[in-house]
């Protein structure tokens, strides 16, 4: 029997998802034995034209990481969809927009203006910004068009499965690969793979008492107790509103969770859920006192939606 064909592609991403695959270490050789890897730009010398030449649906599984930030990302998403039987949104960026999705809190114009004009090391070239088409003496050259809004993968193409995490943890990736290779029936379309179905708190060894709080602290302001729940100590931690799967790596290192595995099952909006989690632990009744306590939480938008602005009910901030 022919080996199943596997493709890995990266859109607006950092490469951490590719590294997570390499972090399978010796098992990467098993992957190479079990699959015919037909496209993987970071590691193999196949080009876009090689993919375009393939027949539709000839790739069995495409692991697609990265958000959709520009015209090339979007074109490649459609191309990989056409050529693949199954498309998996791999990692937080493809899943929910990820860190690049924070750009939806600002605008394309503001980004271009800072990078190519205002930043202190930039010497503006008569106010020139990058152009999609530039006429040079030898001919015309092109670069993709940057979109105004960053999107998650399922906002541009049909997605079959999701593997969350920034990056997905290697043991979880291996679990999914083993499952696929076992030949067992695949879960229902739209399922989240390589993660738990509880919250990060369930994996966290710290003891949570759901203490009522009168004060919040930023992580650098206090030395936290290593055994007590970080949120109970007044440090904003997204554990209660994040899906299990990573093994609570951040709280175990005395650092609060920022929710990279996304919302837990049956939670449509991670940030909104965090607002309700916070309001239930505030130890105050007078509006003024509540407001004073909430003021200690800086940047709730960029913290509660750290990885999920594009997929959230907000999608983007229209005016800044």
């Amino acid at each position: 029997m022919a080996k199943p064909k596997l493709a890995l592609y990266w859109a607006a991403s950092c490469g951490g998802c590719e590294i997570a695959v390499l972090d399978l270490h010796e098992k990467i050789l098993d992957v190479a034995n079990a699959f015919d890897i037909v496209f993987w730009p970071v590691a193999l010398d196949f080009k876009y034209s090689d993919v375009r030449a393939m027949e539709d649906k000839s790739i069995d599984i495409c692991l697609f990481n990265g958000a959709i930030r520009n015209s090339e990302n979007e074109e490649m998403a459609h191309l990989m969809r056409d050529k693949s039987k199954l498309v998996v949104a791999f990692g937080a960026c493809a899943h929910e927009g990820g860190i690049p999705g924070l750009a939806n809190l600002t605008t394309k114009d503001a980004i271009l203006k800072w990078v190519f004009k205002d930043s202190p090391s930039t010497v503006s070239n008569n106010g020139t910004y990058p152009q999609t088409h530039t006429r040079m003496p030898e001919g015309e050259i092109e670069i993709p068009e940057m979109w105004e809004t960053v999107k998650a993968l399922n906002q541009v193409i049909d997605v079959d499965y999701y593997i969350p995490g920034c990056p997905p943890q290697p043991d979880q990736i291996w679990g999914v690969i083993e499952y696929i290779l076992s030949g067992q029936p695949m879960p229902a379309k739209g399922a989240t793979l390589g993660a738990g179905d509880k919250t990060c708190c369930e994996e966290c060894p710290r003891e949570r008492k759901e203490k009522k709080l009168k004060q919040f602290f930023r992580p650098y302001e206090i030395i936290s107790d290593p055994n007590e729940c970080l949120l109970d100590q007044g440090i904003i931690c997204l554990g209660p509103v994040s899906r299990s799967g990573c093994g609570a790596l951040c709280p175990k290192a005395n650092i609060p969770c920022r929710g990279c595995y996304g919302a837990p099952p049956n939670c449509p909006d991670q940030g909104a859920k965090m607002v309700s989690a916070i309001s239930s632990v505030i130890d105050a009744h007078e509006p003024e006192e509540i407001e004073k306590i909430l003021d200690q939480i800086v940047d709730p938008l960029g913290t509660f939606y750290r990885f999920s602005v594009p997929q959230s009910i907000l999608r983007r901030v229209e005016k800044i």
């Binding site: 930039t122 070239n125 990058p130 670069i143 930023r218």
Partner: protein
């Protein structure tokens, strides 16, 4: 005019494409190396609390998150005017040296190495890490995989996560190590030093004993005389984590040595309309275009640049190899771009030796690892050497520590102009009238930039990256007349 496209460039972290224009005689008229993406970190981090930067900017690059993690943490220390405890500095530096050893391993064996180990003209389908394993044997392949595995284990212990570390924060680190963990890490570090020696030997056997490769390294096609930049310690030895930035001129003489907060007096960035990436240059020399020499502000910041910019290595085994490299290649500075691979494995060995020294320091298990900042946050610059070049993070905040300005000059970005020049020169040297342009030719052009281990995930913090390649040939009316692409 004919136009050749290499799209996407492969075995490169990040996205990019190359356009090569040929004149009617079939000779290279010009080349353009374009970066297609911009993510906009500098702008979308404004409004975020500054202490989150060590865990947001890691996502600029998943290949070298450690570099951004450290530069961000150092910039945060500066913003809060806080001195970190000595043990915290040693823990960060330990993580960082282990990272260098691991990262350079990945490049040498998986990204740049296949061109030498499997061969520049080998079929595309074999010119990769799997081809390397096939050529040098499963045992060596196993060692490389074990090296990555061990370095990632140590990084996870020290950094909390193996990718996108979390433990460095304003004032120090969130987590120390136990005596048991230290003993475990010491064993790994001993192994890293042995692996470093093994890699140097492999390079000697496979590359240096093959005259064809040595000629390729030293050929004019792969050479540029530029300024060189690198971080040095108080003795002017290479240091990855801390120190001052030293720049030497094309003759190897010190041009400037500056502290992080003086970077704006020394480095500026040029804008072109045809790419999303800027071109840094030495401000005091000026931007003169894509040319080398003393009058051009173009500088390089690579493993070879760091060795050129320093007076030596901080550790004995690496120092011996450093001396051997310069005596073999005809003294300092070395301008041969492909010698960067040699410099890279010398740094691999040095990182391993440094890590072993640090883990044997009794202070490494100290529990005094954080100082709580007490001063009002303002502005700060943090600089480290990323594997791919000097990395600068510059933050300004309001009095609550909320970011108002972020400026980043990232590892690979430093080398954007020299990489463009190297591609241009290689293309001119390799594409000649009447000589067929083969896939191997294109690969040798890619080798010109692969030596820089360019990471355009990083460069495009800005935007994330990808790199495939195809070559489109256009006639002088810009009609597509031929397509050269990689065939597996």
């Amino acid at each position: 005019m004919k136009q050749i496209k290499i799209d996407p460039i492969t075995r490169l972290e990040g996205h990019g494409k190359i356009d090569i224009f040929l004149n009617d005689d079939g000779e290279v008229a010009n080349t353009y190396f374009q970066i297609p993406e911009l993510r906009g970190f500098e702008q979308f981090c404004v409004g975020r609390p500054v202490e989150e930067m060590p865990r947001i900017t890691t996502r600029i690059c998943g290949v070298c998150p450690e570099a951004h993690h450290m530069a961000a943490a150092k910039a945060c220390d500066a913003v809060f005017h806080v001195e970190i405890p000595s043990a915290a500095k040693k823990l960060r530096s330990l993580l960082y040296n282990v990272f260098f050893a691991g990262d350079h391993t990945t490049h040498f064996y998986a990204l740049g190495g296949p061109d030498f180990i499997v061969g520049p003209d080998a079929p595309a389908a074999e010119r990769n890490i799997l081809g390397v394993v096939k050529k040098v044997g499963l045992e060596v392949g196993g060692k490389v995989i074990e090296m990555r595995k061990r370095t990632q284990q140590v990084i996870k212990t020290l950094g909390g996560k193996q990718t996108h570390q979390i433990t460095s924060m304003p004032g120090g680190v969130s987590k120390g190590i136990s005596i048991e963990e230290a003993k475990e890490i010491e064993k790994h570090c001993e192994w890293f030093v042995e692996f470093g020696k093994f890699t140097i030997q492999a390079f000697n056997d496979i590359v240096l004993k093959n005259q064809v490769y040595v000629d390729l390294i030293l050929s004019d096609t792969f050479s540029h005389k530029t300024y060189y930049m690198g971080l040095v310690d108080e003795n002017n030895k290479v240091n990855f984590y801390d120190g001052k930035v030293r720049v030497v001129d094309p003759d190897g003489k010190e041009f400037v040595k500056y502290s992080p907060n003086e970077y704006l007096e020394n480095v500026a960035e040029h804008v072109e309309p045809w790419t999303y990436l800027k071109f840094p240059f030495l401000k005091k020399v000026g931007w003169k275009g894509f040319v080398d020499g003393k009058d051009s502000g173009v500088y390089r910041a690579t493993p070879l640049s760091r060795l050129n910019a320093a007076d030596g290595m901080p550790t004995p085994l690496a120092q011996a190899e450093y001396e051997k490299m310069y005596s073999t290649l005809g003294g300092k500075p070395v301008h041969a771009t492909l010698a960067t691979h040699w410099a890279r494995i010398i740094e691999l060995l040095s990182g391993a030796e440094m890590a072993l020294d640090l883990i044997r320091d009794p202070e490494i298990t100290s529990t005094h690892i954080r100082n709580i900042p007490t001063e009002i946050p303002t502005e700060g610059v943090g600089i480290v050497e990323a594997p791919r070049g000097t990395l600068t993070h510059h933050y300004t905040t309001d009095e609550r520590g909320i970011l108002t300005k972020v400026n980043l000059i990232v590892g690979t970005t430093n080398n954007y102009a020299p990489i463009s020049m190297s591609i241009n020169k290689a293309a001119r040297g390799l594409i000649k009238k009447g000589v067929e342009v083969t896939e191997g030719t294109l690969n040798k052009i890619e080798m010109a930039f692969r030596a820089y281990d360019p990471c355009f995930g990083c460069a495009t913090h800005y935007m994330p990256g990808k790199m495939p390649i195809e070559l489109r040939i256009y006639d002088s009316s810009n009609n597509l007349i031929d397509l050269v692409r990689r065939n597996p």
